[in-house]
Symmetry: C2
Subunit: 267 residues, 2 copies
DNA sequence: ACATTGGTTTCGCCGGACGGAAAAATCTGG
DNA sequence: CCAGATTTTTCCGTCCGGCGAAACCAATGT
C-alpha cells in the first residue's frame, strides 16, 4: 500500500499519526469507537494510541464526554513552527540581499528561554569560520543579536533576563548590569546594537530587532564580520541597510510603528 | 518513570512524538545525529522514526542537506485546527445566545470536500430528534447551511459543486440545477437561506453564512426546528438574529464588508 | 431488569521493533 | 584527489512489548 516501499516505517508510529490526523481533521471531539471504526483498527489499539497521544499532550481528553480533541502541545508546536516558518520566509530574501551587498555573514535569530538561537545564517564565501552554527544558543548579553532584542523587550522580561548571571564569553563581554542597562538604553534610542569582540575575539557584529504586530521584538537580524574589515564607513552603511531590511520584515509581520490604543477585534 | 503511571503508553509512538517535538521546536532543519544525541536514543531508532514521520509528511526530508524539518501534513493539520478552533471559540457564545432566545437547535458547519460538516451543535431541550449529529457530512444542496455557503462561494467553486450529482434526500429536495441556481441568486441577494423539508421531512432550517477576512464563506450558522413551530413571525425574528450573530463572528474573523483593493502589506 | 452500546482491562502469543555492528555514503582537510 | 573521520543506511538476531480477542465494566435506553 505505501507508494514508497520504505522498509523503515514503524507501524505503531505510523498508525498513531493517522489517529492524530483524523482527530485534527474532524472539527469536533471524537470518541474511541469513532476513530476505530473510521480507521478500521481494533479498538484496543486505537485506545492505546489515544492514551499515548494524550499523554504527550498532542491530544486532549475531555473526561466529561470521553472524547478526544487536539491538545495543547500540538497547538504550541504549530504556533512555534508557524511563526518561525513565516519569519524565515520573509527574512530570507532580505538576508540574501544583505549578503549580496556586503559579502559578510548575515544571521537571523529568535529568543528562546532567555537565549538567542540562530535560526538562519547566510555565510560569506570568504568567511573565516564565523562563531555560531545554525541552532546554537548564545547568551543575550554578549551578542548584538541578543542586545538588539533585549533592549526592546517589555520592562518585565528585560529585568528577568538581566537578573540571571551574566557570564563572560571573552574578556570584552559586558557583565556589569548597570553598564549593560546603559548600553540597552542607547540601543533603544539608536535602534541598533553593535558588539565588538564581546562574544568572540576579533569579530564584530551589528544587530537590529524585528518586531511583530504587537511591537514585540520576536527576532533580530545581524551582520557579523572580522573587526578589521569593518571601517566606519562600511559600518554606517551596514547599519542603514540592516535597519531597512529589518523594517521591511517587521512591516510584513504586521508591525505598525505609530500604532497605539489598538482597537482590537476581541469581544 | 512516567509521572502518570499509564500502562497504555506505546513507546514507539511516544518516542516518535518526542522526535517530532524536537524538530518542530528547533527553528532549523536537524540531522539524524543531532536528534539522536539530544534525545539520547540510539541512532537506528531515531532513523526509523524520522523515516516514518517523513512518510506521513509530518516531517520533510531535505535530501540536499540530509536534514529534517517540519512537513506539510503537520502544517496543514495545524492550519485546519487553528481555523476551526478559532471559529468555534468565536461562534459558541453567539450560538448560546441564539439557543437562549429561540430554544431551537443551533448548528455550526463548515465546508469539506463539497459537503457541509457539522462542527458544533446546541440542542434545544425539547428537541425532537434533530436530523444531524456532530461530525455528520450532508450534501450542500439539501441543507440551508450548505446553500448559505454555496451561494457565496466564488463562481468557480460553486460551479464545480453544482456539477456533481444532486441526490434526493426527501421528496422536497431541489435537484434541478437551474432551479437551485435561481435559489442561490435569491440567497445571495437576501443574505440567508431557508429550507423546508428538503433534507428531512417536517423540519425547517434557516442558514446564514460566516465570512473570513477574505470574504470567503468559511462556515454557516443555522437554526433548525420542526416546521409547525416556525410561524412567519418567529421566522423573521430568527433570520434577523442569525444574521446578527453570523455578522459578529465574521467581523471577529476580520471580515470587512466594504473592503476593496486591499492595500496589503506585501512588499 | 434486560439489552445495547461504548470504554477499559486482562492475558498469552508472536511479529516486528530494537539496537549493535557493519557497510555505504558523505564530508573533511591535507 | 586521496586517506581518515563522520554520518547515514543497511543488516540481522534477539526478545520484548505491542497486539487484539475476549472478558469485564459502566452508562443509557427500552
Amino acid at each position: 500500500m505505501p507508494a514508497t516501499p520504505n522498509n523503515y516505517i514503524v507501524q505503531p508510529v505510523f498508525k498513531a499519526l493517522k489517529v492524530l490526523e483524523l482527530v485534527a481533521e474532524k472539527g469536533h471531539d471524537v470518541s474511541l469507537t469513532e476513530v476505530a471504526s473510521e480507521l478500521k483498527l481494533p479498538k484496543t489499539t486505537v485506545f492505546r494510541y489515544l492514551q499515548t497521544l494524550t499523554a504527550a499532550s498532542f491530544l486532549r481528553h475531555d473526561a466529561q464526554k470521553d472524547r478526544y480533541g487536539v491538545g495543547g502541545r500540538f497547538r504550541s508546536l504549530a504556533r512555534i513552527d508557524k511563526s518561525l516558518h513565516g519569519l524565515r520566509t520573509l527574512a530570507m530574501p532580505e538576508m540574501q540581499r544583505l549578503l549580496d551587498i556586503f559579502n559578510e555573514t548575515i544571521n537571523l535569530a529568535i529568543v528562546s528561554e532567555g537565549h538567542v538561537v540562530y535560526v538562519e545564517m547566510l555565510e560569506a564565501k570568504r568567511a573565516l569560520r564565523m562563531q555560531a552554527r545554525l541552532g546554537d544558543r548564545h547568551p543575550m548579553h554578549s551578542t548584538s543579536l541578543g542586545k538588539a532584542i533585549l533592549a526592546f523587550l517589555p520592562e518585565e522580561e528585560r529585568k528577568a533576563i538581566l537578573m540571571t548571571p551574566l557570564d563572560f564569553k571573552t574578556i570584552n563581554t559586558v557583565t556589569d548590569r548597570s553598564a549593560l542597562s546603559r548600553q540597552l538604553a542607547d540601543i533603544r534610542r539608536r535602534g541598533y546594537a553593535i558588539e565588538t569582540g564581546e562574544n568572540e575575539d576579533g569579530s564584530m557584529c551589528i544587530g537590529v530587532p524585528i518586531f511583530d504586530e504587537n511591537a514585540y521584538p520576536v527576532a533580530a537580524l545581524s551582520l557579523s564580520a572580522p573587526e578589521r574589515r569593518m571601517t566606519t564607513e562600511i559600518t554606517v552603511e551596514a547599519v542603514a541597510m540592516l535597519r531597512k531590511a529589518a523594517g521591511a520584515v517587521s512591516a510584513a509581520l504586521g508591525y505598525a510603528p505609530e500604532e497605539f490604543a489598538t482597537a482590537s477585534m476581541a469581544g
